[in-house]
Amino acid sequence: MTKTCLTFRDLTLGYNSHPAIHHLDGTIRRGSLTAVVGANGSGKSTLMKGIVGVLKPMAGTVVRAPGVRAAYLPQQSELDRSFPARVVDLVSLGLWPRRGLLGRHTREDRDSVSQALMAVGLGGFEKRPIDTLSGGQLQRTLFARVLLQDADLILLDEPFNAVDTKTVGDLITLIKRWHGEERTIMVVVHDLDLVRHNFPETLLLARQPIAWGETKETLRPENLLRARRFHEAWEENAPWCEPDNHEHGDHPHDHGHDHHHGSGPRAA
């Protein structure tokens, strides 16, 4: 059994030929708990989309270790809250990896839906229509769905937005439980204190990784300063990034980025 869960090879992701993630190399260790931090527009959500596969890479690849199933909680859900569904219907979607299109939902499945709701503190909410939930309740409902998906790789994109302190605590407990179960977890977070207290590893992004590794090291003031200087806007006339410039790895090239090839935590 390999110890690597995800491998990025020269990964470039973006929109309209402008990169949001630029030549990312590195690996995510199996069973690791990584916070992904960075300014607005630094490519955090884009990286998540690239890993799940809803955004195709412009160059390079993301390789998932064979058999790894991902669960993804997007920042901007395309959830239609006016759809006539109950909490239980929404959470039951999480049974898809197990039951697929046609598999019958058994009594155990229904029990596990109730247990998942219980775990996020929403026991007894099964029959509530989803348009009556508060923002935080909806977020916890979506966590319950992730729980039910029983995935090896869990990607959470800003899961703590608009969630009160107590709920954040509950959700962190849940994340730590997953961590204890040797699942690989990546979470996009803005609150650095939260990261320092709860996440062993951190990836600091500003289109390319500024620092990547142990949280205490990554979040040192000089790294944060460099990340803050990151220029968010696209430059319409930015020169094309020529393929031969980065094929050989580390030497600097014409658009002046320092590439941190292989700076991710290596498979030990």
Partner: protein
């Protein structure tokens, strides 16, 4: 008393074969079209159904141009035209930045213009009226078989793809993250819409067949908070509209197609007012509230 009731409700169907066929055809049609309408509405594509109905016209017209007023060529033609427009508009919205409403509008307007052009090349305006508004009172065996087949395909497809269809409506991004079925389901669904519109057009015409699809669905939305009962209720409302419309058409000698759709319209307005999620209920009953 009983005689009067019999004369009012039963006799028209008992005494006339064409009424029986009309009833059978329209009831079977409701069975498939109404659930499809529920999903169209929930996907906020209510007007797409309307657009698709227009889009069918050139195909039907091509059939008419070559074979005259024959059901099979016109139906097959309509099916082909509808599928081209559905796939074209769907593909444009899936693979470009343009949203489905705009691409659908573009495709159906072009399609409609071609259709009217083709009908006017050969036919008189009476023929055009026939294509546009149908004749439920002249359903022959061929037409009934066709409608039956379409409904069978519809119900089987809905049963198979139900879970994916609900997921695609409720949370499309989630479906994309766990399965590749998102796009196929979208196109299968558009296919079902076309099929049911084509099924309806012999009975109700290209313009009104969408009415039997959308109105019961829109009315059912005011009564329930769940998809399954909503589909069931839509079918029942569809049934009631067909019976009421045909009776109205028989007794007052109105054209049958519009009578059926208007009956559904009455149910729709009644639902707005009196539905459990309708206006009166929200205004009056909800002045009382519970403590938690």
């Amino acid at each position: 008393m009983m005689d009067a009731l019999y004369g009012l409700f039963i006799a028209p169907f008992a005494d006339f074969a064409f009424m029986q066929r009309a009833l059978l055809g329209s009831l079977i049609l409701s069975l498939g079209a109404c659930p499809v309408g529920v999903f169209l509405m929930l996907r906020r594509m209510s007007l797409s159904g309307d657009a698709m109905a227009h889009a069918i016209l050139p195909g039907a017209a091509a059939g008419f141009l070559f074979y005259g007023l024959e059901i099979l060529p016109m139906t097959i033609g309509g099916l082909i035209a509808g599928i081209i427009v559905a796939l074209g508009a769907g593909a444009v919205s899936r693979f470009t930045i343009q949203r489905e409403d705009a691409s659908m509008a573009a495709f159906y307007l072009i399609s409609l213009a071609i259709g009217v052009l083709m009908v006017s090349i050969r036919g008189s305006s009476v023929d055009l009226m026939h294509v546009l508004f149908g004749t439920v009172l002249a359903l022959n065996n061929e037409a009934l078989t066709l409608i039956g087949g379409i409904v069978l395909v519809t119900l089987v497809s809905l049963a198979i793809f139900w879970r994916a269809l609900v997921a695609e409506c409720l949370d499309p991004l989630f479906l994309r993250s766990v399965s590749r079925l998102g796009s196929p389901v979208h196109f299968i669904f558009l296919g079902l819409v076309v099929l049911n519109l084509v099924g309806g057009f012999q009975a109700l015409g290209t313009l009104l067949s969408v009415g039997l699809m959308m109105l019961p669905a829109a009315a059912a939305r005011f009564w329930t908070m769940r998809v399954e009962p909503m589909c069931l209720l839509a079918v029942l409302i569809g049934f009631a509209s067909c019976v009421a419309g045909l009776l109205l058409s028989y007794h007052v000698s109105l054209p049958s197609g519009p009578a059926i759709i208007l009956s559904a319209g009455v149910v729709y307005f009644a639902s707005i007012l009196f539905g459990t999620r309708g206006i009166l209920r929200a205004r009056i009953i909800h002045h009382r509230h519970r403590t938690a």
